[in-house]
């Protein structure tokens, strides 16, 4: 990944005073945050607080009503219809339902970005695709299957393989572990960490999976009431005085997840 020198110190994502309204419904009143290169940044918050909406605004799928979202220092509003390509090939998005093309096999799905953005020989494309399919933990024989022949967890992995096939600098994950069983969800967390270590990814994920928040996130932004209620590491947030954050992290599920995380750390330390 050739990182252009002068970009090294610019935050990879900047969200400035974003407000979003759909007709009468106000999703964001004033949201600002910055994401640095190399971190695993989670966007958390209750249902309907606009987590996914914010992510869609960052990648240019939605326009904020006011304010701006910048990706690689460029206003996301300018990311239209696949332009500019240089920016589009630097990030990958894994959608909640996978967003796999149903008319293509898994291997063809993963190969789409490579085929569209590069002119590599079929052999190399095949090798890279097979490697990515293997590295997300899908069996080799699933490559020839169509998305509707795959289970939900496999579709999620396939979508991840497609999102990382270009070795992007930023990987966006929309609820990566929602609806997965705890073993696969934990495996998914591990996978994200592995990929981050190996490829130097910056990961932005939308989630309300408290386990995965504790396990893999470096920093978390909690959205609520149309603004950022709090931002920081999980440790910091769990000590927050804000009543909504407190409830979010100290409800019965929040406590269990935290105890797990503490135990795991103790285990690792011992």
């Amino acid at each position: 990944m050739a990182i252009v020198e002068n970009e090294k110190n610019v935050p990879i994502i900047e969200v400035n005073h974003v407000a979003t309204r759909f007709g009468e419904a106000v999703v964001h009143r004033d949201v600002s945050l910055t994401i640095q290169r190399g971190e695993v940044f989670a966007i958390a918050g209750g249902n309907g607080c606009g987590k996914s909406t914010l992510m869609r605004e960052i990648v240019g799928l939605l326009e904020p009503t006011s304010g701006s979202a910048k990706l690689f220092g460029m206003d996301s509003r300018l990311l239209r219809d696949g332009h500019p390509q240089e920016i589009h090939r630097r990030f990958g998005v894994m959608f909640q339902q996978g967003g796999l093309f149903s008319s293509l096999t898994l291997a063809e799905n993963v190969a789409v970005p490579l085929k569209e953005h590069t002119k590599l020989s079929r052999e190399i494309v095949h090798d890279i695709v097979a490697l990515k399919i293997a590295s997300v933990g899908l069996p080799a024989d699933s490559a020839a299957k169509f998305p509707n022949e795959l289970s939900g967890g496999m579709r999620r992995r396939a979508a991840l393989a497609r999102a990382i096939v270009m070795d992007p600098e930023v990987l966006f994950l929309d609820e990566p572990t929602a609806g997965l069983d705890p073993i696969i969800a934990a495996g998914f967390d591990e996978l994200v960490l592995q990929l981050k270590a190996l490829l130097g990814l910056t990961v932005v994920m939308v989630t309300h999976d408290l386990d995965s928040l504790w396990r893999i996130s470096d920093r978390v932004a909690v959205l609520g009431n149309g603004t950022v209620l709090g931002i920081g590491t999980m440790q910091e947030l769990s000590r927050s005085a804000d009543p909504m954050i407190h409830e979010y992290f100290h409800g019965p599920r929040g406590r269990a997840a935290r105890e797990q995380a503490v135990k795991r750390e103790a285990h690792l330390g011992g």
Binding site: T118, L120, S121, D127, L131, K132, S135
Partner: protein
């Protein structure tokens, strides 16, 4: 080489010392050039090769794959190859590729061969025929049951379907039938005037419309309008698990969704055909009086003589059969939707194409049969 120049191009060359030099960024952007360079490279004959990779400035998975692939190919030719000087993080990437290499080689080639595709296609068709027969059987049983016990019929759904698919279709079918009448009369007028047999425009318009064209036009229109809607509605219900909910609550999708639609269309289509007959003939009449000097009264009196009641009846009798084809094909395609929302579109299109096709085939068969019976 300066750092800036290295950033600009990746390369692989063989020095005089028989050492393979890998330089520059080995990333997706540059792989195409690298592949070309590799093709034109003539490898030294020596059995031992050293790959000097200290000047590789960047590497991503694609670059690692290309490097590993090259090295593996050389090793298969019986050479000893060592990669030296690679930065730690790139070496890690290379290790990841080599750890997965067996699985990469085991992965099926990009395209399945034609024999597999052909057999898949045939198996698919065969499965469709079987499921279609199953559906026809199931719906016949359901029809039989509701005829025995009319209380099973969902009257509310039936009337709603009658309104949506029959009543709401009145403007468009009326307009279309009228225009078809105008067109037929127009086209006939030119020819009939040559022979001075203007009055035969009545036969032309009357028989063709009543017997063939208006039932067909109505059927095609309804196939596009309602058949597609049936497929989409039922398909969407399947995707959103509504159909499963219907079944677990203890209701029959056949009784609830299919039969009301089938019965409603079987009632609506003959009525729409009569209506289309009327407007179509009226359209022909207008043109006849304007272009051929056949007045309305002349037209009507000739109509009574020339157009036998059987033409009208044949048209009307065909309509419920058309309706059955359209409704069953639409519902069947709806139930066939498996995967996600994307499947809905495909099956909707299929339902329209298939129902129009079957309607026309059925109509052709009718023509042949009626011809045998001299009707």
């Amino acid at each position: 080489m300066s750092a800036a120049a290295q950033l600009e191009q990746a390369g692989i060359t063989i020095g005089h010392d028989q050492i393979v030099h890998c330089v520059g960024p080995w990333t997706l952007d540059y792989l195409q050039n690298l592949e070309r360079e590799l093709m034109s490279l003539s490898w030294p004959r020596s059995r031992e090769l050293v790959c000097e990779a200290g000047h590789v400035t960047a590497m991503d998975t694609g670059g690692a794959v290309l490097l590993y692939r090259t090295v593996t190919q050389l090793r298969r030719q019986g050479r000893q190859v060592s990669v030296e000087g690679l930065r730690a993080e790139f070496a890690e990437l290379l290790r990841m590729v080599s750890a997965n290499w067996d699985r990469i080689e085991a992965a099926p080639p990009p395209k399945s061969d034609w024999l597999e595709q052909l057999s898949r296609f045939i198996a698919d068709r065969a499965r469709h025929v079987v499921t279609a027969l199953g559906f026809i059987g199931e719906s016949t049983v359901a029809v039989w049951r509701s005829l025995k016990r009319p209380s099973l019929i969902r009257w509310q759904a039936l009337f709603r379907s009658l309104e949506l698919d029959g009543f709401h279709a009145l403007p468009i079918t009326g307009l279309l039938a009228f225009l078809i009448g105008v067109v037929i009369s127009y086209q006939g007028a030119e020819q009939l005037r040559k022979f001075g047999t203007n009055i035969f425009v009545v036969d032309l318009v009357g028989i063709s419309l009543l017997r063939e064209i208006s039932p067909l036009i109505v059927a095609i229109l309804i196939a596009g309008r309602s058949g597609s809607a049936y497929a989409a509605e039922i398909g969407t219900m399947k995707v959103t698990e509504e159909l499963d909910a219907v079944q677990t609550i203890g209701l029959s999708p056949m009784q609830l969704l299919v039969l009301p639609r089938v019965f409603a269309l079987m009632i609506a289509l003959p009525l729409l055909t009569v209506y289309a007959d009327g407007l179509g003939v009226f359209g022909g009449m207008l043109i006849a009086s304007n272009l051929l000097n056949v007045s309305f009264t002349e037209f009507v009196s000739r109509f009574e003589e020339a157009v036998a009641v059987r033409h009208f009846l044949i048209g009307i009798v065909k309509a419920p059969f058309f309706a059955m084809i359209i409704a069953l094909v639409g519902c069947y395609q709806g139930f066939q939707i498996r995967g996600g929302v994307d499947d809905v579109g495909r099956h909707t299109t299929t339902s329209v194409v298939q129902s129009i096709f079957l309607v026309i085939v059925f109509d052709a068969l009718c023509s042949i049969l009626l011809n045998w019976w001299d009707l």
